[in-house]
Subunit: 338 residues, 2 copies
Amino acid sequence: MAARLVDVARLAGVSPSTVSYVLSGNRPISEETRRRVEQSIAELGFRPHAGARSIRRQATNVIAMVLPMLSDGQSRVQMQFVFAVVHAARAKGMNLLLLTAEDGVAEINNVVGSAMVDGVIVMEVQLHDPRVPLLASIGRPAVLIGTPEDPGDLVHVDFDFAAAGAMCVQHLHDLGHRHIGFLGQSADTYAREAGYALRARSGALDEMAARGVPPVWSPAEASPAGVAEAIEDLFGQDPELSALVVYNEQALPLVLDRLAQLDRRVPGDMSLVAICPDDQAERLLPAVSDVALPAAELGRLAFERLAGLIAGETPPSTTLLEPQLNRRGSGGPPPPRR
Amino acid sequence: MAARLVDVARLAGVSPSTVSYVLSGNRPISEETRRRVEQSIAELGFRPHAGARSIRRQATNVIAMVLPMLSDGQSRVQMQFVFAVVHAARAKGMNLLLLTAEDGVAEINNVVGSAMVDGVIVMEVQLHDPRVPLLASIGRPAVLIGTPEDPGDLVHVDFDFAAAGAMCVQHLHDLGHRHIGFLGQSADTYAREAGYALRARSGALDEMAARGVPPVWSPAEASPAGVAEAIEDLFGQDPELSALVVYNEQALPLVLDRLAQLDRRVPGDMSLVAICPDDQAERLLPAVSDVALPAAELGRLAFERLAGLIAGETPPSTTLLEPQLNRRGSGGPPPPRR
DNA sequence: TTGAAAGCGATACCAG
DNA sequence: CTGGTATCGCTTTCAA
């Protein structure tokens, strides 16, 4: 039922190869012939069969992206990665296949092994990630979003989370704060060795240490109870806390709520800096100063690196986006001693 | 480099057809032969070439999902659709190809026309959606999430937004409220005739009318300023408002913030019911009563319908999930007259 | 229970 | 500038 290339050829009165060359542009075609062929293609609504094509070409024009584990649409950041990649891919006429991390290594093997995709983007890579050696060994184009402990030669792009954490502390310290807490991701994020979480935390804690600020931190679940607990924990460690670095996009609004409940005004009693997507910090009350997490940019970048690899280029194996601070209403000088 | 079927055959000392039959199970194979073949497959790490396979089979085992326009990961609901579909698909060994709505009808045509995918799921269908007639005409398996004005025979799944809107009003009215406002989606959502937005709104407004409640509503942008404006607008229309139906997941936290700013306590001064994903309402302070938007379930359902169509079944062309109310802390009796 | 061989739909080399 | 045809990797009929 679907028209095939031979049908087009017949209708246009040319040979199949000619039609193929009109399609690919790999050989000069007379104006007249091209017109007839294109006319026939339109008339029949012909589309080259992707599968048939992929067997002779060495490519499918499809790339795969591996979603993070347990992903039920929780995190905005992850979504932004995905959307940025789809859009970048579609803009270049490529298609995106989504894989879930649950089946992990096996699924990656499947889609690249069966030549379904030309390359793979893996997000949420962990410090010791079994997918990393796999990707290294299959030797097909692959890009990591995130930095494993040992990336080998694998191309990876990342945000400099350590610098981001340090920058937050530095900002608050510069405002005069000498008692700063770090409110981080959920405990199990650290447990599974998510690089971004570990690096942001140590970036912050190291900077605290370097500046003589007592290093205080707590993980936090993104629920009212979890946040309340984390904040209590932080104050327990240092009752003089006058500033918080929050790296937990989901918990951020709850942190504001909780501080309000505790009658700590932001920024009057407590200053805040977050590491999170910029539009998210901007929308809060008060708008929160942040080190913006450039998720969309990272996604776009990851795609570009992958496209480069597929095209046979040799992109830089490491790219680290530098943090930038956006000052908003949530930071101020520490309150006078009570 | 990648092992091919013939390589397996050679190594196992059998003919290619035998290998193929071992793979497909379409013909009895002696235990001994099967063992040798499977051994060879494992040894060579052989995976059948998906493209080559798709040209003889009538299927690719891949389905496409069309993302909404302008989607930058804004909406949780949309994400949940996507994740639900990927997971459902992966669980059945199928793969998901993501398309963006920007390239619209053309891209759908491309991927199904070129036999890249066995079927398509379209989300965020609008009342008059050009993709609907297209899908109807190509006659390939397709499922809509959402209900266009004229779905024809197209299989679609949806949440009963009209009933949801009505249920919210009913709940508040039953609590004693006689002045209820509806705070909806952004103005342009209505402008582009998003079915869910229009139906939820008219469900609510009709129910208000039926109960003698003055029908009051306002669209709202999901920003502090937008929400402030919408709330002012609502009070301008009816200063006696004691309850709000909020159908705007992104604005919901901002509504709470704004009411707090205006010194209206929830639920003391103002009752609230939201239409939004349940976990989102649950996480607020106070936890918000809601009519849960079953995004994940809709996504799963959409996939199942599509899988049915691909398998040659004839699933019901319409499926409407019924709303359900979750009572939480944000609803109470109206305050005594001031 | 197995093998030989004819395709599937498009591409690209070899000729002209 | 164009045509014939081998070929890609797998499936499936036909034959044994």
